[in-house]
């Protein structure tokens, strides 16, 4: 049997970490296979890709030992972060960088660049286009184009859509499908709905880096469902089953109006970047802010947090809000990158940061309860930067809860999270909304809009164009699919 890449008895350990990440791991992949690697975050899937390509130990110094490693003759690698895999400022220069490395004569470069861009469906009027001006989906297709410039037999994809929106995700996977025919694909990905149909082999890892299952998708999902669920790995219809288990997602109805907006505008520079005609919001409402990329969703919640200049009427509990200091901690904002909001050196200090002057036993108890609730109790003395991505996200939401804000603003808090973390986070938010907190959350996820939100604001071209209540959401669902996908 002809293998294109394989490893025999790999042992690998990260410096300063306890235990081996891989202990005698063997894996072999045949030419032309489309392989998906699944596993809980931190189980070593990305590391494995880097070993299979030789990036470890050639580019990254990680101690490893193995009986044999067979690296494919030609390979390309698409990374997760669209902003940190390019070294040149312009589209043509970036692909040219690869061609230069391959010593392609200069005269042939322009033609090749144009051809590669057409292959990945990047139609640009001028190939000398700033990379910074491209959307996330376009950037990842550019990454694919520069990978194809290497004419690789094997393409490694390390969560290429984890940081981009649904539109971009669809674009990227469509492109991958169109070029995949004669290639071997080795993919690590959480959001699997859109690629599962081209995958013919799934390898599932446990959290200690051993292989739990290996086979065709249908076989793996039918035989190892329970384990996959336990590890928090997304699988087809994960949402459907979750909703069935939690038959009743209920809400308390409050009647007191907390938030009044009238002719509300948020500015970026001198131009209004978001306009909301009129809205009143009651305690306990859960508003999903949705719309295409660049429509103004984040601008809306940044404006509500008074981090941008605003005009028009904006009242919380009848008091007019004109600047950040007027908010008096009645609103709280959870940013997409949790690291930005960490200010202390210990997880527990993060929670009590604001009230450190008078940390009473009461507050301490509350903080400890929150940590247990968020599954961070045993991490309380760690540095926040040492947590995993899911834990960091939970901690940054937990800091909001101790403040007990009237309005909680969140920017795509479930982005790139595994199923366990997503459901957990949503349940915690729901708990908070039952107590009366208003939740305003930017999200693309239709499942969240459908099952958790009580109200939807649709943003388009810098305006809030629709405001639906719960019963209208279902009715409008068909239309909503049109723009989210």
């Amino acid at each position: 049997m002809e293998y294109i890449t394989s490893i025999k008895n790999l042992n690998l350990k990260f410096p300063k970490e306890e235990g081996l990440l891989f202990n005698d791991l063997s894996i072999s992949i045949r030419k032309g296979e489309k392989v998906l690697l699944l596993g809980p975050s931190g189980c070593g899937k990305s590391t494995l890709l880097q070993v299979l390509t030789g990036l470890i130990p050639r580019s990254m110094d990680v101690p490893l030992k193995s009986e044999s490693i067979q690296i494919p003759d030609s390979w390309g690698f698409v990374f997760q972060d669209p902003d940190s895999q390019f070294c040149m400022p312009y589209v043509d220069e970036e692909i040219a960088f690869v061609l230069e490395n391959l010593r392609i004569p200069r005269e042939e470069m322009t033609d090749r660049i144009k051809k590669l861009l057409t292959t990945v469906g990047l139609q640009l009027d001028n190939i000398h286009n700033k990379i910074q001006a491209l959307s996330g989906g376009m950037k990842q297709r550019l990454a694919l184009a520069s990978v194809l410039a290497l004419d690789p037999e094997v393409i490694f994809l390390d969560e290429p859509t984890a940081l981009i929106d649904d539109d971009g995700t669809a674009q990227v996977w469509d492109t991958v499908k169109s070029i995949a025919d004669d290639k071997t694909l080795i993919i690590v990905e959480h959001k699997i709905d859109q690629i599962i149909d081209i995958i013919d082999r799934i390898i599932v890892f446990t959290d200690d880096g051993t292989i739990m299952a290996d086979g065709e998708p249908a076989y793996v999902f039918s035989h190892f469902k329970a384990e996959i669920k336990r590890f928090g790995i997304w699988y087809p219809n994960a949402w459907g089953e979750y909703i069935k288990e939690k038959a009743n997602i209920t809400y308390n109805n409050y009647s007191d109006t907390v938030l009044n907006l009238d002719n509300f505008r948020g500015y970026r520079g001198k131009v209004p970047a978001i306009t909301l005609e009129k809205a009143t919001v009651q305690s306990g409402e859960w508003i999903a802010v949705t719309g295409a990329n660049g429509a103004g969703k984040s601008t809306l919640i940044l404006s509500l947090m008074q981090l941008l200049r605003t005009t028009g009427e904006y009242k919380i509990e009848g008091r007019p809000i004109r600047s950040f200091s007027d908010l008096e901690k009645k609103t709280y904002f959870v940013f997409q990158n949790p690291e930005y909001q960490f200010l202390t050196n210990r997880v527990i200090d993060e929670l009590t940061y604001d009230i450190r002057q008078r940390v009473s036993p009461d507050v301490m108890k509350q903080a400890n309860d929150l940590l247990s609730l968020f599954g961070l109790k045993d991490k309380q003395n760690q540095h926040p930067y040492h947590l995993s991505l899911g834990q960091k996200r939970r901690l940054s939401v937990a800091t909001a809860f101790l403040q007990d804000p009237k309005i909680l603003l969140l920017d795509e808090p479930t982005f790139g999270q595994d199923s366990k973390n997503t459901f957990k986070l949503l349940e915690l938010l729901q708990e908070e909304s039952r107590k009366g907190t208003i939740i305003i959350m930017v999200t693309h996820d239709l499942n969240i809009i459908h099952h958790f939100a009580t109200r939807v604001w649709e943003v388009k071209g810098g305006k809030v164009i629709c405001d639906w209540k719960k019963d209208e959401i279902k009715r409008e669902e068909g239309r909503m699919y049109e723009y989210t996908y």
């Binding site: 940190s84 004569p105 909001q341």
Partner: protein, 263 residues
């Protein structure tokens, strides 16, 4: 660093040559001790700045504002406190003499011409072309050239990130406290997330470059062939003749009676 509105011949001069000549001019400007030479030389450099950078005049004048600040601050300290024999004005520790006046004005012009040369270079040179030229003409190692180009790409990203981090920390209540101590804390809180993010990003880019088969040791082809042209000759002759003209003007039509401003 913005793309100029219209390109002039100065944009087409070989970047490595331009850099080299400017470096020589910097040294040369330090050796000018005659105000009568300095003023015409500054004028010839400002002609390049005004006519050849391709920027609208509004931008050019905006850029000039800080330069005049540099001019006045540099010259004033010398004018007011410099040594000299022929007193023009004296009040307390302020002692303006003819010698210190000339010397101060001379220093101001020197600072101004430095700034003008630097900004003219930046406005007429694309960083990518500069590094290609350095690799091709001065044999700079590709690993340095491409690292610099990657770093330049990161600057605007870091700037965006800086704003986001400030907002994020404001929400946490970092900015609500008053007093010097909390201001210090605010400054202290910024570099850690900013640096941790940048280091991570730089590391990722380095790995991505190697994944694209970047190899510093082997020969490579170049997407941009940066060579020499008649524009280079034009640039060299402009500089040579402007120096010649300055000295000629200084000897034939001296603006000031002093020849050497040194005391």
């Amino acid at each position: 660093m913005n793309t100029p509105i219209k390109e002039s011949w100065l944009h087409k001069v070989n970047p490595a040559l331009k850099l080299l000549i400017l470096a020589i001019l910097f040294v040369f400007a330090v050796t000018i001790h005659q105000l009568n030479v300095m003023i015409p030389f500054t004028l010839t450099v400002s002609i390049l700045f005004f006519l050849c950078t391709g920027q609208p005049y509004r931008n050019l004048f905006l850029i000039l504002i800080p330069f005049f600040l540099v001019f006045f601050s540099t010259s004033l300290s010398m004018i007011l406190f410099g040594k000299g024999d022929t007193t023009l004005f004296k009040w307390g520790i302020i002692h303006v003499t003819e010698e210190s006046l000339y010397r101060g004005v001379h220093l101001g012009f020197r600072a101004l011409v430095f700034a003008l040369m630097g900004i003219t270079f930046v406005l007429t040179t694309k960083p990518v072309k500069l590094f290609y030229s350095l690799m091709q003409q001065l044999k700079l190692q590709p690993k340095y050239a491409y690292s610099f180009m990657a770093a330049i790409r990161l600057i605007p990203i870091m700037f965006e990130e800086f704003k986001t981090i400030r907002d994020a920390q404001k929400v946490r209540g970092l900015h609500s406290e008053k007093g010097v101590w909390s201001k210090l804390k605010r400054i202290k809180a910024l570099p850690i997330p900013l640096l941790s993010q940048s280091i991570r990003r730089a590391f990722r880019i380095a790995v991505a470059m190697e994944a694209k088969r970047f190899n510093s040791l082997q020969e490579r082809t170049f997407y941009y062939q940066v060579g020499f042209s008649t524009y280079d000759l034009l640039f060299i002759s402009y500089i040579v003749s402007s120096i010649g003209l300055s000295y000629w003007l200084a000897s034939e039509f001296p603006l000031f009676p002093v020849t050497d401003v040194r005391y």
